[in-house]
């Protein structure tokens, strides 16, 4: 059996290519938070306590727009609702773990680590395979804390003109490279994207993410069912 450390570093290596776009994302977060008026300590604590790029950016956006705490918290919850599905997907591989390990794995269950570890968890059967997810999550944790820190220091020195925020959708786009060739996935991708784009202003509380995802999943359910019937 592979040692815990071997599996951990497999996770580190697998997730590393996805860390490059996290760098500008973390810097942008640090710069924005200071700009809005959070203290350096508060900004650093957000990255340590929340540890979620999308959640933290939503928090900043709504806070600077003067939204109430209740709206901010429920919006963060809505943006995070995708983690419920990640958790549901990986839970079958983690059901035998002790509570403390479930808590640790949960803290590290982020987009990039999920995307890379999901495949690993499906294709491997050794007991310690969850170390792959911890390795990926820990890698992102270090990059996220470091870049937040440098973002705080850099302040407004980073030119907005560089358009680094575009790195965010590009990262998520790159996570889907394996799905671009599958017809059902492409249909689901377009439907979810369109629902989110047109629902952005119509669906309250930033819930467009979860609404679009549920519509996408529903379509996937129908399409995969009808394909089976034809066979």
């Amino acid at each position: 059996m592979k040692s815990n450390l071997t599996v951990f570093f497999k996770g580190v290596i697998d997730v590393s290519p996805l860390m490059i776009p996290v760098v500008p994302f973390g810097l942008i977060f640090g710069v924005l938070a200071i700009d809005i008026g959070f203290s350096p300590l508060e900004t650093m604590s957000m990255s340590l306590i929340i540890f979620g790029g999308a959640s933290q950016i939503v928090l900043l956006q709504l806070f600077s727009g003067g939204a109430s705490s209740l709206v901010i918290i429920s919006s963060v919850g809505a943006v995070n609702s995708r983690h419920l599905l990640y958790g549901a997907v990986v839970s079958e591989h983690l059901s035998d773990l002790k509570l403390i390990w479930k808590i640790i794995v949960s803290y590290f269950l982020i987009d990039q680590a999920f995307a890379r570890s999901n495949e690993y968890l499906k294709n491997n059967n050794q007991k310690n395979k969850y170390f792959h997810l911890i390795g990926g999550g820990a890698t992102c944790w270090i990059v996220w804390q470091t870049t937040t820190f440098f973002g705080i220091i850099l302040g407004s020195a980073i030119p907005e003109k560089l358009g680094l925020s575009f790195a965010v959708p590009l990262t998520f786009l790159a996570l889907l490279v394996n799905d671009f060739r599958k017809l059902v996935n492409v249909i689901v991708i377009f439907i979810s994207g369109l629902v989110a784009t047109f629902g952005f202003n119509l669906i309250p509380y930033k819930a467009y993410v979860i609404v679009a995802a549920l519509v996408g999943l529903f379509i996937a359910m129908i399409l995969t069912k009808s394909i089976k019937k034809d066979e």
């Binding site: 957000m46 918290i73 079958e92 808590i103 925020s165 959708p169 790159a174 889907l176 989110a196 996408g216």
Partner: protein, 103 residues
Amino acid sequence: MSDWVLIICCGFITFLTRFSMIALLKKEMFNDRIREVLSFVPSAIFPAIIFPAIFLDNSGSLQFEDNPKILASIIAVIIGILSKNILATIVGGLSTYWFLIFI
């Protein structure tokens, strides 16, 4: 509500969404059909973040003209289909974007 309480609440709800399913679901609750549908989760969720970030401007309205992000994303998708490489997709998209806005 102070900033600190807000930050801690946001952290707690983020953790809760990650933890709840891992803590509650049991292995026996999954069959092949559920697994098949759940394999579409990335395809269903990521576009909800991608599309608005590409097609909407800062004020939240649709922007098709004079939007270099659209062409850069198309190039990124083509590179992704051809190479199946995550890093090449990101680098290709970002360099196309910089090429378009600076030249």
